[in-house]
Symmetry: C7
Subunit: 254 residues, 7 copies
């Protein structure tokens, strides 16, 4: 009770530290991320895989309208987890940064540079008053100088680079699945499979083709490509993830 | 009691997260939507149907003054549920965006683009301080590239695309009615019937012609058309929704 | 007690939603309207009637200084109820809008357009921080395209169109009186009589000529005309509303 | 106790409504007016009389430095009650408005126009945040189109026109005195007498010549004229208001 | 206890009224004035005398650095009591106003005009948010049109004109001393004596020459002149105010 | 309990002093520094050594993405401890200052000048409202006029110059280790060894090559150089710090 | 307990008065000054001496980095006590003022003028909202018109001129030491000795040469000169202040 009352005293203000040096609003924004369905990124030698759980709330909702994976530039994609409307703001910000880079320097923005542009933007919302932090985490994947790169941004505005990473619901379980199954010499196909099996691992090892989005950026094409439902179905079948029956889940992704 | 006190600590601030990652002001704005009478959208192969429950509070109030459906552009309409004065702001915003698009690009704005312009505007009011969120949900329907499109915006600023959807009072019941009765190959006439029956389903399966607004945007005409009272009466009769006696209901759409 | 404490938590902030989706400051502004003496509007086939109860606090106060009905433009008038100083702001705003319309388009502003200009202005004060809502309701009446129109604005910024309507003290009783006595084919004379009898109905069916303001805008003249005390006295006599003795009421219109 | 606690919840904010539609800060500003010594205005057929109780705190204070009556323009004067420093702001504002009117239109500002300029200014301080209301009431008197006019402004920003009126301490007693003794056909001399007797009525029917300020604006001269101490002494003698002994009162006009 | 709790509810906000119409922050600023050592002003037929108690805290502090009397313009001086740093702001403001007057109109600013410029400036800090009131009172003395004038400004921004006045610590005792000893036909010498005896009256009728500042503005010279220590010593001796032994008082003028 | 309640009263505001003259938000920001893994700086006669503990949370995270040491300019580096996103802001600020210095003066910025630019920037965030302090400490090392210099910045904005210093977790233990082992005539090699042994001293005297970053700026090269993993491994072996087994620590560096 | 609760009610706001006319934030800023190690200023006939206790926290910290005495201009120096980062802001402000004076008037700024520029700047932070006061006191010493001058600034923004003064820790003891030992005809050498003995008096009459900074500005040179460690050692020896053994004190100067 004592501890709880003390916590309440510090977590109401947007931009202040608690006595133990924590920023509660940022930590609560991380909770908003956990409330979103999961997204997974896998970096393979042949390119980066982004996959997102997008199980719909209603059979009448267009699956394509649950946007979890976005093209940021020709050679870069972004998957999100958390507050959907916040994600749209950051993705628009990233796209503008990518365009500005092409206009100013005549070349594609580096994936690391793009990520840090975004995290600097996020950080401002955690330090300056008058706004709340962004309640969303992003996976930014792409090809830079011929190399596949995969970054995460969190609500504090910290950039992390990963071989394979999960954000959103069940993060610790999914990350554990990735750690147990990731290998450095994965092919792109194996990467897609690992991403799908990771998402399915929190869902009785089942996936519907229209319940997941998958995109890849290969070192060969250096292009953001979204997989079709048919392609995803093939991967689901190849990985034994077909659903036994239709889920009628009431997932709430914000 | 404990939980309640804890909740109070976080829901008074406009733009801050609760410890479990929720934005209470946005959730309360959703309650404002539920306090408004229902609007329903149905996408058919022949076009989009927007219908709105506008039962008046008093026999002396002009039914036309309860505005629930608005023309956004030649090829696009908007139905609303919730705080009426807020809806007017967003609809004006949408109209200006549509006009700007025609001026700048010489063509009609896409329905998806229009929707996302509106949801980005809504999101700002949930993150930046100094204002409250919009207490209204919108259905934005129209024709884009010859295809009917139907979108919902919610108070968080998230866009959703639907085949058929209900907003406002009794949403879960009405949505269930839509899910049970929607079919992909509806004609426009069947779509209007489904929309009216859905609204009536929460009202003892009865509707008065001046208690509902209906508008359509067909793929053929690509034009926003409001049905006359006579046309609506015919649909009401065809769908067996005539009221047995005059309601004297004290509906409160705000 | 529990409910009361919970309410207090949400009604102190200007622009935030309560857990059930209400804006308490707007609802309290509606209470400010109820604290003002009544105004009544009646739309007849021959024109619009605006009437206002302006019983004075003191025999030394000039009755003309209790302003309840104002000319907005040649063809439009406004009656108010509630916080007097707030009403003056909105009426000035309406007048400027009407002037701007004449300057910009060379024609009289439509009554509906004028009303919506005012309600959009009102809405801003309910959403953006730094100010309180307007504590006043208005009746805006006039002639548009040869048709009489009568609108109400409320503190939320919602416009309503009416055949006959009452704002201010005793609204529900007066509105009931209007509903029971209104007929669609009233002459202007009958409309004035109905308006006066409605106001008197909450005052022992008595009225003093200098205790009420009446104005009309007829379809024939399209001009805002205030009735003289003599004209009002005639109507009072014709409708059997003469006071039996002088009231010494301590009315508080604010 | 319950009621008291509830009131406290709403009267701390500057610009918000209480649940019963009241603006407590404005009502408290009215209390500040009551803390000031009284001013009285009387409109006669021959002109307007302004009189103000200015009993000094100390025999060493210059009586002329307790300013209660001010010239606003050649044809207009202002008496105040309440917070002295606030009164100075409003009087400066009124003077500037009068000058602007002369410069812009080449004629003296109307007394009603001048009053409403001032009340609109006052209203802003009751609606927009960042400042408190003005804690002062004014009597604005003058001649407009050959007619004497007498207005009151209150802290809410409402203008009232009066035949005779009192503001400040003991208002209800003084107003009752005015109502009992006012007649429509008073001469200016009788008006001055009534004003002085009204002020004296709350002070054992005694007045010192340097304890009161009197100014007149007659329809003949259309000029603001302050009475000399000798002239005031004559009126005091003529109205039997000479003090029996020197008061050593500790009046606090603020 | 009840009253105390109620008071606390209203005195924390900078610019709001209490239920009885008081501005607590202004009243507390008056307490800050009382915490300062006294200043005294005396108006004689031959000119104005300003005197200030400036007993130092430490024998190592330069007596000249405790500034209580300042030249505002050639013909005007200012004595202060209260918060020293606030006094410096107002005195700088007054000096700039005096310079502006000379530049704009080519003549010395009137003492009344100068005082009202300062009080209008003070008033702003009591009404507009974002700053606290000035915690200082000033005596502004000088010669205007050949006449000696002596004004006081208080933290509310009210100007008062005096024949003789005291501000700061022990005001009521010192003012009583002035009232008992002031005469209208004092010579300047007698005025200096009265001022010094008044200050000494709260200090066992003793004064040290370096514990008091004295300045005069005579109608003959129309010039602000500070008395030397020797001149002050003569006055002290002439008025029998020599200290019997050195005071080691710990006066706190702030 | 008493003391705790009192503390709470003062540590919620961003920029206010507590009764004992402390700025709690700054002290809490220092706690945020302690929550970060340690960084160590050692100044030797041959140059400055910066070393940082960067143990990763997950085997899938790229060690290079945990950024603790940054190049600020050719001749200057910065190591950080605490809130990572805040560190990025300050490092960007430092880089821009260094560039501006080269552009404006045509020469490299001095290390002391660079440090004070940064600390002045930090101080602003502790005094002016609207933002929280930076939750990070920096070590700024480089060569200035041929001399190695090593500075620390803390969240209050105070610059300190050190021979050897530790920031972040276990500061007091690590600083004690430095004090016991530092000698003025260390070679650069010995300096690197001391830095690594200091970091390892809080970790059972073990280090992994990819769990630590090391950079040097020598007086000879005047260039910021990051050591390769192989070079670090050699130092680890030479200092007997090889880990006996793989750590699976759950370090949380913000 | 009662008094304590009452105090808490007034000391949380930045710029408001308590009921007894105190500014708690300014008083708490004075506590921040007391938390700093002491600085001492002594004015002699031959010039001004500034001395500062700068005992370091750690043997590895560069003594020169604990900055307590700064050159403000050729002829002026500043010693500080309290919040180090705040001191840097004020010293930079003073330096800019001195430069501006040279540019604008072509001559060195007067010490009194410089001091008052600084105190006016400090005062703003105690009256206007949005920032906290400066938690630092300064001693500003120099030569003006051939005369040595020594001023103190405190957190309220009040300037004081002194013959000899101490700020920071143990002020009352050190000031008493100065008062007992100061003589008006000190030589500069004796002044340095008095300053050092005063600092040492709170430290068992011992001082280390690198634990104290000393600077002088003589009337002959009119130049700010910092004493070398050797020079200080000589003074320490001459005044019998050599430390008997090395102190390992944990002084905390902010």
């Amino acid at each position: 009770m004592q501890g709880q009352a003390q916590q309440q005293a510090y977590d109401r203000g947007i931009t202040i530290f608690s006595p133990d040096g924590r920023l509660y609003q940022v930590e609560y924004a991380r909770e908003a991320v956990k409330r979103g369905t999961a997204s997974v990124g896998v970096r393979t030698a042949e390119g980066v895989v982004l996959a997102a759980d997008k199980r719909s709330r209603s059979p009448l909702m267009e699956p394509t309208s649950v946007e979890k994976i976005h093209k940021a530039d020709d050679h870069a994609g972004i998957a999100s987890a958390g507050h959907v409307a916040d994600a749209r703001q950051l993705i628009d910000f990233a796209r503008r940064q990518a365009q500005v880079n092409r206009l100013r320097y005549g070349e594609a923005v580096g994936i690391e540079t793009l990520t840090k542009n975004v995290t600097d933007h996020i950080q401002q919302y955690t330090q300056v008053g008058g706004a709340r932090p962004f309640g969303v985490a992003l996976l930014i994947g792409g090809v830079e100088n011929g190399e596949p790169r995969l970054y995460e941004t969190d609500p504090s505005g910290t950039p992390y680079e990963w071989k394979a990473v999960s954000i959103g619901a069940d993060r610790s379980d999914l990350q554990e699945h990735l750690e147990e199954n990731y290998e450095d010499d994965l092919t792109l196909d194996e990467g897609v499979g690992l991403a799908l099996r990771t998402i399915a691992s929190a869902n009785d090892d089942e996936l519907a083709a229209d319940g997941v989005d998958v995109a890849t950026i290969t070192t060969e094409s250096e292009a953001f490509v979204e997989l079709t439902n048919d392609e995803i179905s093939t991967y689901i079948a190849d990985n034994d993830l077909e659903p036994s029956e239709e889920d009628d889940e009431d997932g709430d992704d914000e």
